[in-house]
Amino acid sequence: MSTVTLEDIIKPENLVYKKTDLMTDKSLSYCPGCGHGTAHRITMEVLEELGLDEITIGVAPVGCSVLAYEFMNIDMTQAAHGRAPAVATGIKRVWPEKIVFTYQGDGDLAAIGTAETIHACNRGEKIVIIFVNNGIYGMTGGQMAPTTLPGMKSSTSPYGREVEMMGNPLKITELVAQLPGTYFVTRQAVHTPAAVRKAKKAIKKAFENQRDKKPGLSFVEIVSNCNSGWKMTPTDANKWMEDNMFPFYPLGDIKTDGQLLK
């Protein structure tokens, strides 16, 4: 019986997975179990697989992913809270041959930045928007977001979101799908390997659309967890997300090739 050493295992022919060079070596600032890290990684993997990284400029939001530029190993601009779609518009308009995307949370994209989101979508800016919806303001400590579910607890809806008083959650993805300027609108998740594969495919399609100069904006929502903000363990958060978030925010494509589905 021969002994297998570590050196025997670490060989190029045994390599089954490697972190993309488009993620830096910096350890992620996200809570363990948070979906942001996975969403970052698959976005970078897509850019690597499509060979677009050398011409890509990313726009980071204000939110937990404000430091996305620390982890994504590409040129990036950090935008003011909610303004990423306008910042991306500015970049894409003066560099039409580059690939430009924003990465935004739900507070950033669907509350303070609603106008910028709607108008970038409606103008049909040739950019990609990656929208991580965790139904809460993660960064600032778990306040109510525009996407917080009815009855859902947060630090500013401590007894649950009361719709009469606090208004309804906003399905901004369905809303932007109605606009003639969006070309591809989809809703995905990254909490299981199968979901990650699907989400990555969707992100790839979004960037291919931009690369191929398809007429309009590609919008990828990722329904994600915020175990810290939701005050749950990572596993409980994922279960809660499946039971509560997905029925309200159903996964799947909403608009492809400029055509609304269903």
Binding site: D53, E54, I55, T56, I57, V59, A60, V66, L67, Y69, N73, I74, D75, M76, T77, Q78, A79, A80, R83, A86, V87, A88, T89, G90, I91, R93, V94, W95, K98, A115, E116, I118, H119
Partner: protein, 361 residues
């Protein structure tokens, strides 16, 4: 000699943007500066030079488009009037923090609030002391003619890129709306993408393999590093203060009484100087061109040459006058005269104020 044209101040500014080789203009309509974007849309600079023009959904969006494009190394511009400029302050603070070059114009109207569409100079504090949050400055140039509305766009871009700073052309409803002869400067070609990539290594143009990535940000969670960054900004502002002071002296050689003014108030004060001289009063005009940096040292030096009194003339309740006081520090009397809320003062009332408030006592 450049091409001569009869133009509105706002149109001259717009034409100058095209000729200065700007890559983009992002704006939102507001009186009294809407002619800027109207002129650009009619002129179709995308056909002339490849310059992009886009009407944004708000001033907030417009300044953030500027932020994005400037961070990507392009020559970009926006303009608005007072209420819209207030909306841009968040973006301007980010531009200051991440040290991006851009030019923007404020064709000031009376305030506060929605105020009036008539001319005013009440945005001096906002312009020179940093209207947004944080310790920052921007270069402020005050045109007093349609000619300067054009010239300062070219100068503004030079300074903006030299120091990686926002340059504000602080105009007002009079200068923006009036028509004058203007000698347009010869067009400067837009930089090519290759030139931009080579010349501005800090710009986000896509990270080539094996090179440092570029990050445009104003954030640093480490407060020691943030203090260091602030030191760097303050040092930059100091260098600008030493090198970029601009002003004009009119009849100041033997002057005992000096009007201090900028923009359209300077034109009115210049007329007041003539009226004063006709009456035997030795009056002069210190016209500010750069409001930041403020020509305080120059003012103090002049004061020591026998000036008996200064009158700050501005279409506001008294903002610039504070800087005049700080500059001459008790060397001579300082007073203020201004109409505001959209009213433009007359040379007669300006002279009268000098006689009453400064000479009389």
């Amino acid at each position: 000699m450049g091409e001569l044209k009869l133009m509105k101040g706002n149109e001259a500014l717009a034409e100058a943007a095209i000729r200065a080789g700007a890559d983009a203009y992002f704006g939102y309509p507001i009186t009294p500066q809407s002619e800027v974007i109207e002129y650009l849309m009619a002129e179709k600079p995308w056909e002339r030079t490849g310059m992009v023009v886009l009407q944004a959904e708000s001033e907030v969006a417009a300044i953030n488009m500027v932020y994005g494009a400037a961070g990507a190394g392009k020559k970009v511009m926006t303009s608005s009037s007072s209420p819209g400029i207030s909306l841009k302050q968040e973006g301007l603070s980010y531009i200051a923090g991440s040290e991006l070059p851009c030019v923007y114009a404020n064709v000031v109207r009376g305030g506060p609030g929605l105020g009036t569409i008539q001319p005013s100079q009440a945005d001096y504090f906002q312009s020179t002391k940093g209207g947004g949050h944080g310790d920052y400055r921007q270069i402020v140039l005050a045109p007093a003619s349609v000619q300067e509305m054009s010239d300062f766009v070219k100068l503004g871009f030079e300074l903006a890129f030299k120091y990686r700073i926002a340059v504000l052309i602080l105009s007002d409803g009079v200068i923006g709306q009036m028509m004058e002869k203007v000698e347009l400067f010869d067009p400067i070609p837009r930089m090519t993408d290759e030139e931009i990539t080579a010349k501005y290594p800090w710009a986000t143009t896509g990270k080539k393999k094996g090179t440092q990535r570029r990050i445009i940000t104003s954030l640093d969670l480490d407060s020691h590093k943030m203090e260091e960054h602030n030191h760097h900004l303050q040092e930059k502002y100091r260098i600008i203060s030493e090198n970029e002071v601009r002003y004009e002296l009119i009849d100041c050689d033997d002057a005992e009484y000096i009007f201090v003014a900028y923009g359209s108030s300077a034109r009115i004060a210049q007329k007041a100087v003539q009226l004063a001289r006709a009456k035997g009063i030795k009056a002069g005009l210190f016209r500010l061109i750069s409001l930041f940096p403020f020509p305080g040292k120059e003012m103090a030096a002049l004061c020591k040459k026998g000036v008996k009194g200064w009158l700050a003339v501005e279409m506001s309740a008294g903002q610039m006058v504070e800087d005049v006081m700080l500059s001459v520090k008790g060397c001579a009397k300082v007073g203020h005269f201004g109409r505001y809320g959209g009213i433009v003062h007359s040379p007669e009332e300006v002279l009268h104020a000098m006689e009453e408030k400064i000479i009389g006592e």
